[in-house]
């Protein structure tokens, strides 16, 4: 049973989970740091408890404090969202030891998938294809370097060195020639030791021109493990996804079935429970290889929800409560695309931006979904991740979904903070995106020297005129009056001659 859910996260994903709790009739608890005191997610919770401390480590990552809040509020389940503590096996274990329900897989499953070398070995044993390569277990620098050198001849060039505890590109090196191997291996180990306290690295053949295709899985305690089809997330900048879609444009039903079965086998190999994602590289040859498994809900989960009709977060809550999942056989309908809106300057090497959201007006209309944790009037600060919102569209076909995304992005107005909206909009016009021939190097290939907006002269003239008219007409004075409320419209309670309360 789950009676009350504590959401150990913030921002957009906290909003997503709190809304699911609300819909399921489950009371919810939000936790928040001081600098989130006026954030939107707090309003969506039945209760909100302030975390003491200043840094992320003292707040959203403070396991003991979060467990104490669960106890004092009477929450009996903890949903970790993504990021923060979501893939921390020690926290999942502490939650269980405290007699609470963890909304996610067992600590053992998190551990087996979290260590990349262990995951590769487990997957190979389960018959899931992994990228050709070799694990190097040596901890000692000299032994490890000798073993890497020996393994490199068998793996072949170009190759990738990856940290076993790695993620987000840390402790990763591409090696194109044997003379660079030792230097790169030392660098990867150094970075991995600094970031994760674990210098073990493994070798993988570098598969160029591959697509990043991942399979959503769901598993419950009643013996059912299913896949919900694929998402393609090849379009990435700085190893971060910005454009995700379901289904993959080049997918066939045979390949989907094969990848789906491999993902189910991967999940079953670690006795998986809840929602998870098995990531694969899909080579131009049609071969696919296990990359890693994310043992949590993912940022891009909405595209799967829109094409399958399954509410993944609701299923997570159901499964955590010990109930069987509610979805039937896999049915995919139409096409969904998600773009991630970041407060960043896409024309300046994607430098994160901050500022007020003086105007925040998302698009509306058919087939448009917005998952966000901000609203107009909020301030974008450097305290947290600069993702402002996820804009997701659904349409009967991929062609129409792209048309709808263009329309939605054109309607999206954000003023006061620089965003990547125009970058995403121009991305939708690129040939590779239109044909679906995207791979993980698409952005670097289209804009090798960085992106710059293409602005028609006539539109620029209109903007200049708009600014001049706005200044002349004193619109800024009217705006500040409305925001301070000092000279605003009279209160209705005064006009009808009574007081409230």
């Amino acid at each position: 049973m789950v009676r009350k859910v504590l959401v150990a996260n913030r921002g957009e994903i906290a909003c997503r989970i709190l809304r699911a709790c609300n819909e399921a009739g489950l009371p919810s608890v939000a936790i928040y740091a001081e600098n989130d005191a006026s954030s939107m997610f707090i309003e969506l919770a039945d209760e909100a408890v302030l975390l003491t401390g200043d840094t992320i480590g003292e707040t959203y990552l403070d396991q003991e404090q979060i467990l104490a809040i669960a106890k004092s509020t009477g929450a009996d389940a903890i949903h970790p969202g993504f990021g923060f503590l979501s893939e921390r096996a020690d926290f999942a274990r502490a939650v269980g030891n405290a007699g609470l329900q963890w909304v996610g897989p067992s600590p053992e499953a998190i551990e087996q998938m979290g260590d990349k070398m262990t995951a590769r070995i487990t997957m190979r044993a389960a018959g899931v294809p992994v990228i050709p390569g070799e694990e190097i277990e040596h901890e000692d620098e000299a032994d490890a370097l000798a073993a890497i050198e020996a393994a490199s001849h068998r793996v072949g060039y170009p190759l990738l060195l990856k940290a076993s505890s790695g993620g987000g590109g840390k402790g990763m090196r591409a090696v194109h020639a044997p003379e660079d191997l030792i230097e790169s291996a030392k660098g990867a180990r150094r970075e991995a030791i600094a970031a994760f306290g674990d210098g073990r690295v493994y070798l993988e053949r570098l598969l160029t021109g591959s697509k990043h295709v991942e399979i959503q899985v769901l598993a419950d305690r009643h013996g059912r493990t299913i896949h919900l089809g694929e998402r393609e997330c090849s379009v990435q900048r700085r190893h971060q996804k910005v454009f995700e879609e379901a289904p993959c444009a080049t997918m066939t039903s045979e390949l989907r079935e094969a990848m789906g079965q491999a993902a189910v086998a991967a999940a079953e190999a670690v006795d998986y429970e809840g929602a998870g994602t098995v990531e694969f590289l899909l080579a131009p040859t049609g071969e696919f290889f296990f990359l890693e498994m994310n043992t949590r809900i993912q940022v891009e989960h909405p595209v799967t929800e829109l094409v399958t009709g399954v509410d993944l977060v609701r299923e997570q809550l159901r499964i955590a409560a010990g109930e069987p999942m509610s979805c039937g056989p896999l049915m995919m309908r139409g096409h969904a695309i998600e773009v991630r809106l970041y407060a960043e300057d896409a024309a300046n090497n994607f430098l994160p931006a901050i500022g007020p959201l003086a105007v925040f007006r998302p698009p509306e209309g058919p087939g448009v979904r917005l998952d966000t944790g901000v609203r107009e009037g909020d301030e974008v600060t450097p305290n947290y991740d600069p993702m402002l919102a996820k804009l997701i569209v659904w349409a009967p076909s991929r062609h129409e979904a792209l048309q709808r995304m263009r329309r939605a992005l054109d309607e999206f107005v954000v003023l006061g903070t620089t965003t990547n909206i125009r970058f995403l909009r121009e991305l939708c016009d690129e040939h590779e995106v239109i044909t679906g021939a995207t791979d993980t190097t698409t952005i670097d290939r289209i804009w090798p020297n960085g992106w710059q907006p293409t602005v028609p002269r006539a539109v620029e003239d209109m903007a200049l005129m708009a600014a001049a008219v706005a200044e002349s007409a004193g619109l800024h004075r009217k705006q500040s009056m409305a925001s301070t409320g000092g000279q605003g419209p009279p209160s209705p309670f005064e006009t009808i001659g009574r007081r409230f309360p």
Partner: protein
């Protein structure tokens, strides 16, 4: 009415005239709508809508899917403004100072390197000039918007 806005190519002058409720500029005409948006009629008769908001001295404008930042130059202000682009774009740490007071620099010279939100950001001279003062040293923390250096654009 006459206004000046800053652009990478130098100041742009814009003069709009008002007749009744309608503002005009060349073939363009604009009216202010009740909700504060602008209705812009192009020279070809096409209608566009503009959202505007002013933050500090900057007018943010959205029209036809494009967003613009137009910094207004106050009448009478010189083009040096308060530090030009030589202010910290966001809170961060000074990684390196590449010039000293008294040094003559040309437009495009990197003056300082900041680390903000885990990324390096170069502070570049917008024009030729002489470094009058350097306000921070390597390792210093800086707040957003503070002047990092003073440049005399002589």
């Amino acid at each position: 009415m006459h206004h000046q806005f800053r652009s990478p190519e130098g100041p742009i002058e814009v003069t709009v005239a008002k007749q009744g409720d309608e503002w005009s500029l060349g073939g363009l005409s604009t009216t202010v709508m009740a909700d504060g948006r602008l209705r812009i009629v192009g020279s070809d008769g096409g209608i566009s809508f503009g959202h505007v908001a002013k933050v500090g001295d900057v007018w943010w404008v959205h029209t036809q899917g494009h967003t613009f930042k137009l910094e207004r130059i106050e009448p009478g202000a010189t083009d040096t403004d308060d530090g030009g682009g030589l202010t910290a774009p966001m809170p961060g740490k000074v990684l390196d100072v590449l010039v000293a007071a008294g040094e003559v620099v040309s437009a495009g010279t990197t003056l300082m390197v900041l680390e903000a939100m885990k990324m390096e950001h170069r502070i570049v001279a917008a024009s030729d000039g002489v470094v009058m003062a350097v306000h921070f040293a390597a390792g210093d923390q800086v707040e957003q918007g503070v002047a990092l250096l003073t440049l005399d654009e002589s």
